[in-house]
Symmetry: C2
């Protein structure tokens, strides 16, 4: 799925897993390659064929999986089709409708991967910041970043939100994100929310000496997203959270390409569970939350961690990360943000699995600290520093009260 | 799923099917109701509870399905949660992210239905035309409508497209739609395509005496959709096809609400197979292609018929139709368009299953007629007239050459 040589010039490769107990998989693949491009081929006159050949899809690979004595439902093939990019415009709705529009409804078939050509990808600016740009904004060179999430947002007024923000910021987190279910509302309207949170960030900076990005949830009617983003930026916003799957990838790609929206975007995976978990249907997580999210310009991509309550298998998690940072893709790499169920005792595991270009993202693991959210943030920072120094977490906990209490509460899962 | 009394004032009801071999379903439901709204409840002080109560989600119903000796994977419950509409803005991204954002990733859970309140729905204009409006535009009172699809579009120039259009129009079809994979391209650019097809429609009208709507595929960057729509309308467009799931429902809702885009919209189900077929994940077809498509303003909704190669079970098909025409929803009703694998011999079955407020939609069943596309259209019209007159199709075929040949080719499946 990675290290594709981007790719066959003028063609996008699409790889599917197709389950069928009886099908001739090669014939099926040929049917797709013709059916989703020129419509028919064998019955075309030679002169028409010559005209149509450049529009014709090609079967690149068919790998059947047909174990001896396969039980019903076990037989499948991974097939790869090359689609001429001449056939669709340079945008993600056109690409997705072409390769998985009608086909998504044609039996048990899951879209595993897409490899657009380098030329196709030139139409996308991709992440404006990516890992390096976010690090530069924060002035943090190599350390894994720490993000925290508000505990509760709905029903809170500006004072309540500010106080939550301040406590998180005082703990030394690098990034704070809105809850994805915080929409425009009378208690904490967009611009006022940005103002009070940015003000709290400034206040905390006096103590922590640290910069901070606040990812404000960018919401509203599709046609007002840019305008809302600019209003928020005028009010001081320095980052946006975006529920990309509820608006479509193209809406995010347009935000990311807009030079007036010069702040990082964190893509939230809300609704992703409608796409990726079935082995038989949908779009695989490494494509959905990895490659497509990157092409569409996210600077951070959140996805369910393999550690918590809302889980994705570790192998799939690492494939999402691989797609986000794959060096063969000619676009900046977004930060992977494995989320849900994270506490300081998991930091050794997270850094072992994801390396240092990762965002450690916690909600309950910050707010649930017995000494409060600021202590919760400090416990995470202490854990990160300990792991970076090659120290045992339980040992380091002896020297740091916040970490010690966190470890007492949640335990340690060493790498 | 239908006949909801729209609904609990101030609340949207969401119904899920949740598979779990061990869970206490009521406890799980309570966790969702709290977790996706106020975040926590039992540990809140009384004074905070009073403030938060109006934001708290409520468990409305829990219906466990726990048959004696259930095999692993068989145990489930249908649960209904009421979400205060105070918590989210009046748009579909906010609604979907609230009720199925994070939750979609939380194990085996499928979103079955949503019942927003009448007040919430007031924010949506819904279909501008609906069944009645499309009928009025065409001047066709009661008869089921006939739609045809281009045979091949990719690689065709304007002359080739016009000729295909003309042949279809001469057959007496009411509606012709672009292929959903026809995007902006140098051979048949939007405005030129509209001009030649509308011109062909006028030419055919001289023979058929019939009005016709041409659903041009509306594509391009999200922020240019309205502009492209207006350009097409200025060039004579009188309908749009829209790949709604690739742009998000909100993009369509904004088009439908735009008084400058005063033509019907046909929603194409491209990508829908990524959402509805799994019993364990995603969004049920009657909600996805029925109710949400209607709320988002489609005048026609296409979905895979139960008759053809790309199939959806008939029960699910009829549930999609029921959601589209449910009289308790305070919005116009879109035409159901069961698509794929349709030939004239299926008309008795389609009209039995869907009644007369249906669009009979055919591609191969028109173009594959041995006497050509115009004869294919006539065969369909003859079949529709015969069924409306209560006649046996095989009998009627004796009097109509086109129908006779179609029946010879594809057979008859009587109701």
């Amino acid at each position: 799925m990675s290290n594709a040589s981007y790719a066959k010039p003028g063609y996008t490769l699409a790889t599917y897993r197709l389950y069928d107990d009886k099908a001739d998989f090669r014939k099926k693949a040929e049917g797709i390659a013709v059916g989703l491009t020129v419509g028919s081929w064998t019955d075309l006159p030679e002169v028409t064929r010559q005209k149509m050949e450049k529009h014709l899809g090609l079967v690149v690979d068919v790998r059947p999986h047909e174990p001896e004595g396969a039980a019903p439902g076990e037989r499948y093939a991974d097939i790869t089709i090359a689609y001429p990019e001449l056939n669709f415009s340079r945008d993600l709705p056109a690409l997705l409708v072409t390769v998985f529009g009608k086909l998504s409804m044609d039996g048990r078939i899951k879209l595993l991967d897409l490899q657009p050509s380098a030329e196709f990808l030139q139409a996308f600016s991709g992440p404006r910041f990516g890992i390096a740009g976010v690090r530069e904004t924060l002035g943090v060179d190599k350390r894994p970043l720490l993000m925290s999430i508000f505990k509760s947002v709905i029903g809170y007024d500006l004072d309540g939100l500010r106080e939550q923000f301040l406590q998180q910021a005082l703990g030394g987190v690098d990034l704070i994100k809105d809850d994805e279910i915080l929409f425009e509302n009378p208690l904490t309207p967009l611009e006022r929310r940005v103002e009070v949170c940015v003000d709290a960030a400034r206040e905390a900076e006096k103590t922590t000496g640290q910069k901070l990005i606040y990812f404000t949830n960018l919401t509203g009617p599709t046609s007002k997203l840019r305008e809302n983003a600019r209003r928020a930026i005028d009010a001081g916003a320095n980052g946006f959270l975006f529920n990309v799957l509820s608006y479509g990838y193209d809406a995010m790609a347009e935000l990311a390409a807009d030079s007036g929206i010069n702040v990082p975007i964190a893509a939230h995976p809300a609704l992703a569970g409608a796409f990726y978990p079935s082995p038989y249907h949908g779009i695989a997580a490494p494509l959905l939350l990895g490659k497509l999210t990157r092409i569409a310009g996210a600077d951070l991509s959140l996805f369910p961690s393999p550690y918590g309550s809302v889980v994705m298998p570790k192998e799939e998690n690492l494939a999402v990360q691989a797609a986000l940072i794959d060096p063969s893709l000619p676009l900046r790499a977004p930060f992977p943000v494995p989320s849900a169920g994270i506490h300081p005792g998991l930091v050794p595991l997270i850094l072992r699995d994801f390396g240092h270009d990762v965002v450690v993202n916690a909600g309950g693991g910050v707010h649930g600290h017995p000494l409060g959210a600021a202590a919760g943030g400090r416990a995470f920072r202490q854990a990160i520093d300990a792991v970076l120094a090659g120290r045992d977490l339980a040992e380091a906990a002896k020297e740091h009260e916040e970490l010690r209490i966190a470890v007492e509460r949640w335990g340690v899962r060493n790498a």
